[in-house]
Amino acid sequence: MFLIRAACLLLCVLCLAACDRLPQSYPPPEQRQPVAGFNPGPDAMMVSMEDSDADPVIVKDIYPGTGIPWRWTKQEPTVKVLVFSTESVKFSADFAIWDDSFKTTGPLEISFLVNGKLLDKIRYTTPGKKHFEKPVPADWLAGNTEATVALSVDKLYIAPRSGDEYGVILSRLGLKP
């Protein structure tokens, strides 16, 4: 009987010891500051064709990467970018027109599109490396949303043997702050 009583007493003491009332009120916590790097770098809205992570943001008309810093496109190479800011944003594209295909196609007219809207259209009369850059109207974009950025090539080079279609050689495409 003594043992039972002692055990009961011990159990009660243990139970009481366990009663740790949870706090119901708290002081203000450490105040969060805006996280540095909300807009992570000038190239955050650019898609580089040498980047192995480029595939998920390619929407269409860009051939798979082969480990070199450029990729062939088809007629309307399109990528998605996440818009971090809408003010003073420029469309930016680095691409090249291949000498041999140029001999077949002649001058190319390339349209530059943002969210399907025509930003500019340029006629390229020579082959070689090209760079295009032009401000995008702020009301074409919405912050913190995805935007599609595209080129549209008017004529395609058809490979004689395979019949594959080629537009331009793309290195980088996207938006720049």
């Binding site: 243990l14 139970c15 366990a18 949870l22 706090p23 119901q24 009120s25 708290y26 002081p27 203000p28 916590p29 450490e30 105040q31 969060r32 500051q33 805006p34 996280v35 790097g37 909300f38 807009n39 992570p40 770098g41 955050a44 992570d53 998920p56 943001v57 998605k80 996440l82 971090f84 800011s85 809408t86 919405a142 912050g143 913190n144």
Partner: protein, 734 residues
Amino acid sequence: MHVLPILFGALFTLATAWSLGMLLLRNLAPSFDAWERRLLAFIAGSACLSEIMFALSAAKLVHRGVLLAVGLASIGYAAYSGALRSPGKAFEPLGLLWRWVFIAVFAGLTWYAFFNALAPEHSSDGMAYHLSEVSIYQHAHGFPRITNDVYANLSQGIELLYLFAFDFGRHSAAALVHYAFLIALVFLVLSYGRRIGRPAVGVAGAIFTYTCPVVLRDATTAYIDVALAAVLFALFYLLQVWDESRDPKLIVPIGILAGFGYAVKYTAFLALPYAVGFVVWKLWRARKPLLGPVLVIGLSAAVMILPWMLKDWIEVANPFAPLANRVFPNPYAHISWEDEWRSYLSTYGLHSRWQIPLEATVKGGQLEGFLGPSFLLTPLALLALRFREGRQLLLAGLVLGSTYFSNVGTRFLIPVVPFISVALALAVANLPWLLLALVAANVITCWPAVYGRYCTPGAWQIYELPVKAALRLQSEDAYLSRDPDYNIVRMMGRVVPPGGRIFAIGQNGTSYLPRELLIGYRSAANEVMQDILLTPLVRDYQPALSLKFDFPAREFRKLRVVQKGSEPEDQWSMAELRIFEGPNELPRDPGWRLTAHPNPWEVQMAFDNSPVTRWRSWQPASPGMYVEVDFPRPQPASSVTVEASDEMVNTKIRLEGMGMDGQWSTVSDHPVISAHPILSSLRMAAIAELKTRGIQYVLIHPGDFGADDFLRYPAAWGLRLAGEENGTRLYRIR
């Protein structure tokens, strides 16, 4: 892992449990046949061993040496004291026909079941939490305080037996222990038939139980349902023996098993009222004293039940965790989670409960397993009501199965399978040819090579005979790598260094993961992290609304924003509460005391200046909920702004203040609402919050909400790809 340690781990556990049971029942020889005593001893001894393991785990004494000592001492003392001898009358031998029917079916299915149990364990829940918790306990040598996994708060009576076996033989040893409960159950059913003088009924009932596909599948994994069925049938059995013998010594094991039911699984909480009710009814009718037996049953059961309640009370402030969070509100499980969990488990996505009979017996796709077509004949079992034994069986089945609709998974019918099996056999016992035909039909339709023809593809079932894997002629890794979850946890194990903490919205297979993985829905804190992680992706979560209360400047002791609306489908949330004096926001004084009702534990998230965190009610919004600031001294103020997401419920608020007179009064009933859509990316802010909570890695499955966004813009999140397995990506926080 080789076969011998696995077999040793399982057999040593079984031998220890059996020895303890034989010691417990050694003075009850006259009540039992020699075999039923051995079987009941195993079940009762399992309860004792589980209790010992609870004590060892609480004391952090789960070391291999201690377990060896406990096992050897139990076996040695039982042998020394003569308790292992099993005196008592023996049943009449089975007739030739039924004996060979039983032997043939039992041997055939055991061939399948044994190798499946011995094969590397890869069941869904076994890997996700039954053995995952066991692995954590083994690593910690006992119970660590786990507040970020609701499954760790369930009672784990069988898991503690697994812990004993796991220390020697890892996962497969645990599965073999579970399988041993099925063997014990089948022979108990057989013995019951012999005890009531109907051996054919015993054989048929045992075959119905053993061939039941979901029973056989469950028993060959580290689940616990078949063990529970064995415990409950053993309880029923002991009560029947007590009813015959009125041996008062049986009351203690009856109480132990009644309590052990709860310790195995919450859904068996009715075992105690059933046992008490049975004994009280019988004693009352016999005009015998009630109080003593009832107290003994209650105390014996309490020894099994109370430790689990105390553990939960101490660890997570809720003795019934993870249930009853409305009654015992706590910071570790949200009420909304419990509501959603209960809601899902009561339907499993079925359109109507009328689908249950066919789903649970034949199809098995949505309810995760099937009993076999023979159980469509369950209504026929009502014919057994004409026998006393039939009434007892059906009463027990009805009481112990009455919790089924709280979780309509087929597994949750397993505890009543033996009762229905015997009752069904009893119903047609007077027509031996019909009984034999039923048994034959049942064996054919429930044979593993046959049921794949009619059940839903993918239904939980035994579908292979993995002899090579079981004997480890094929490596565990090769066998388990067929399981996508296993491959993902292996990838995480390779990539994440020891001590690394991973957050995932969902993931199974964690019993093979030697790292800490926090899963979104598994605790309040994890749900908060999931909420934070999704806020950049879900506009409805973002604080796009500003609700401003303007009022003539005056002094307050307290201010609070009170919910006026009642929204059964919506939760109230608040990203920030800002107080102004004139045009300037008051700096948040460390002397302020913040509280909220409900969910005071997360109130700081409405005062942290972060757009990705918010206080949420985590239950439907109702009038009277509030978020409150208590000032250390009289505080002048002239406006209050609430930032919240764009949901109607968040606008139904008023501002109350407590003035110098200590009285609450409404300061403003109509906030001015303005919209401020979030135009900047909140991704890095969200990841920064996870980082402050100790998370170093984030696991994203292809099907997770927002998976594409992580895939396309890891840099925007501040994440770097660390590993990938079949489309599931593990990101390291930069």
